[in-house]
């Protein structure tokens, strides 16, 4: 692993104040507004409480925003000629991908860590197992969505497209039951959207699949295979799309 390259990538990230705000700070702010300061936060839920449930949701949102941005910028950079510059060095494609994946994980850990610390200090509670597994799932699953950013970057080749993809994450988060507990038809639709499986899986150690609604009524629960299937299918769709787009890009060169 080229640590010099990774170090310089982290420095580039730290230079972009807007990114730092949207990826690092905004999700934590959301958590404070919708989790830490709400009366329902303390209600027990599965292996933790509602505050921990909201904490995992916001951490997932923050982590995905981070990986979409990193993946998208990697694609745009390569398209805009940096790939040719790297093609003149001994660095292999695999080495480049490894640097970018590590960068995505490190950047994703920023909102996750910040939210976890704020949560631990403001009343999010759960078993050690629930905390650990949920946060690991948040960080690991987020890597899949680096592919979403990558596809956007490969398809449209502009920084604006990557920003748009990051913005799309907000829409997908609403549709995927991340921000507001959905019910009825919306919940039925949500189960097919990309972020649903990821966030449901990350919450699983806390909820054991139980679905909660805004008014506290029970909505039943998801079996574990459902979020796994959702995440698996979307991973495959994004991976295939990325391969096709890379191939198209190569033919045009």
């Amino acid at each position: 692993m080229n640590t010099t390259y990774l170090g310089l990538e982290l420095r580039r990230f730290a230079r972009d104040r807007a990114n730092l705000f949207f990826i690092g700070v905004l999700p934590a702010f959301f958590y404070i507004i919708f989790g830490a300061t709400q009366a329902y936060g303390g209600s027990p839920l599965g292996n933790g409480n509602v505050a921990l449930y909201i904490l995992v949701s916001m951490a997932a949102y923050g982590a995905v925003t981070a990986t979409v941005g990193v993946g998208g910028m990697a694609a745009v950079e390569r398209m805009q000629g940096w790939g040719r510059q790297l093609g003149l060095t001994p660095l292999r494609d695999g080495g480049f991908v490894l640097v970018k994946i590590t960068l995505a994980v490190v950047v994703a850990l920023l909102p996750v860590t910040l939210i976890a610390v704020i949560g631990a200090l403001t009343g999010a509670e759960g078993t050690t197992v629930a905390w650990t597994l949920s946060l690991l799932a948040v960080a690991g699953g987020a890597c899949v969505f680096a592919l979403f950013g990558l596809c956007a970057g490969l398809a449209f080749r502009t920084e604006a497209a990557v920003s748009a993809a990051s913005g799309m994450v907000v829409v997908l988060a609403f549709l995927g039951n991340v921000f507001v507990p959905l019910s009825g038809t919306l919940l039925a639709i949500a189960k097919f959207t990309p972020l649903y499986g990821y966030v449901a899986l990350a919450r699983y150690p806390v909820t054991e699949g139980r679905l909660i609604s805004g008014d506290g009524a029970s909505l039943g629960s998801d079996p574990l295979w459902l979020p796994l299937l959702n995440l698996g299918v979307w991973s495959a769709v994004l991976a295939v799309a990325a391969v096709l787009l890379v191939r198209r890009g190569r033919e045009r060169q």
Binding site: T4, Y5, L8, D16, Q85, G87
Partner: protein, 324 residues
């Protein structure tokens, strides 16, 4: 302008006798929506170690595509490319060849020094970062963001990156495109110093003047083929053709023009009123034909500028192409 260069130091390649560059029957065809486009149509080229070669041709002649294949950035549709007897990608990995590419390809939010450090980190034994920055004349702007650098400074940065592996072969694709006159002069001054170290240098340009000033040998490319190849002085004398102007008799003018177009020594024939203008690679032959065969009068022979010479060299290829 001539340049004496010290003999190249013995290199492993020289010992094995492999040329720095060997292209054999190289072709590249791109699939586009409007059908296949042949960018390179069969290039054979051998460059020995220590040579300084200019690849000269108009935009779209296939220079960049040829260079991309020479560097392993694009795979050929047909034929083969070897660098020091090895596949290009291997030669790149071993740091034996590096290149200054055309515009683009830098990260705007890194400083000059950071960019050099980043690329240096991809090599096992790169030249020292500060040393390379000095040699490329970037000392004063090393801490500046790439986005704040002028075009000339960015080009010198690409050049600094190319120096990192201490390459035996340096490839430059239109290295001075977008530079002003001063920056261009500075760039070639630095390049002279590097060539004097005995590196093999191959550069693409569409300025005949640059090729003339800097190269030992010029390879002229047009329409994806090599149309002329030889020592700089020879190409220049061939290229700096003359223009022959004459007035043709009114009767049989079209036939006369057709005769001129068929003439081997005429690269380009244009009719302006009753005057005909012939860009000639052999002005004597053209003049003789005009006066003896075609009964022309008021003949003038003008020595062409470098630009016209360039048209003479590459225009001839175009005429052949259209005649197919």
């Amino acid at each position: 302008m001539t340049h004496t260069r010290p003999t190249a130091p013995p290199s492993p390649a020289a010992a094995t006798g492999a040329p720095a560059v060997e292209l054999r029957g190289l072709t590249k065809t791109f699939a586009t929506r409007s059908g296949d486009v042949a960018a390179v149509r069969g290039v054979d080229l051998r460059i020995e170690t220590g040579e300084v070669v200019a690849v000269l041709g108009p935009n779209g002649a296939g220079k960049t595509t040829t260079i991309d294949m020479l560097l392993g950035l694009t795979s050929p549709t047909g034929g083969s490319a070897e660098v020091f007897g090895r596949p290009p990608r291997d030669a790149v990995r071993e740091g034996r060849v590096s290149a200054v590419l055309q515009t683009g390809g830098l990260l705007r939010d890194l400083t000059v020094r950071e960019t050099v450090r980043l690329i240096a980190s991809t090599y096992d034994a790169p030249a020292p970062v500060e040393d390379v920055i000095d040699r490329a004349g970037l000392g004063a702007v090393a801490s500046r963001m790439v986005s704040k650098c002028s075009g000339g400074e960015q080009q010198r940065l690409r050049f600094a990156l190319a120096l990192l592996p201490d390459p035996e072969l340096l490839v430059l694709d239109e290295p001075t495109a977008g530079m002003d006159v001063t920056a261009r002069r500075d760039f070639w001054r630095v390049m002279h110093a590097e060539a004097a170290r005995g590196r093999t240098v191959v550069f693409a340009t569409h300025y005949l003047e640059e090729a003339d000033d800097f190269a030992d040998r010029i390879v002229v490319v047009a329409q994806g083929r090599v149309v002329a190849d030889g020592p700089t002085a020879e190409i220049r004398s061939r290229a700096v053709g003359r223009t022959v102007h004459a007035t043709l008799p009114t009767t049989g003018r079209d036939d006369a023009v057709a005769t001129l177009r068929r003439l081997a020594g005429a690269a380009d024939v244009t009719v302006q009123g009753d005057r005909v203008r012939v860009v000639a690679t052999d002005s004597d032959a053209v003049a003789r034909t005009l006066l003896v065969e075609l009964d022309a009068h008021d003949l003038e022979i003008l020595t062409g500028s470098l630009d016209e010479a360039f048209v003479a060299l590459t225009g001839a290829a175009q005429t052949t192409e259209e005649g197919r």
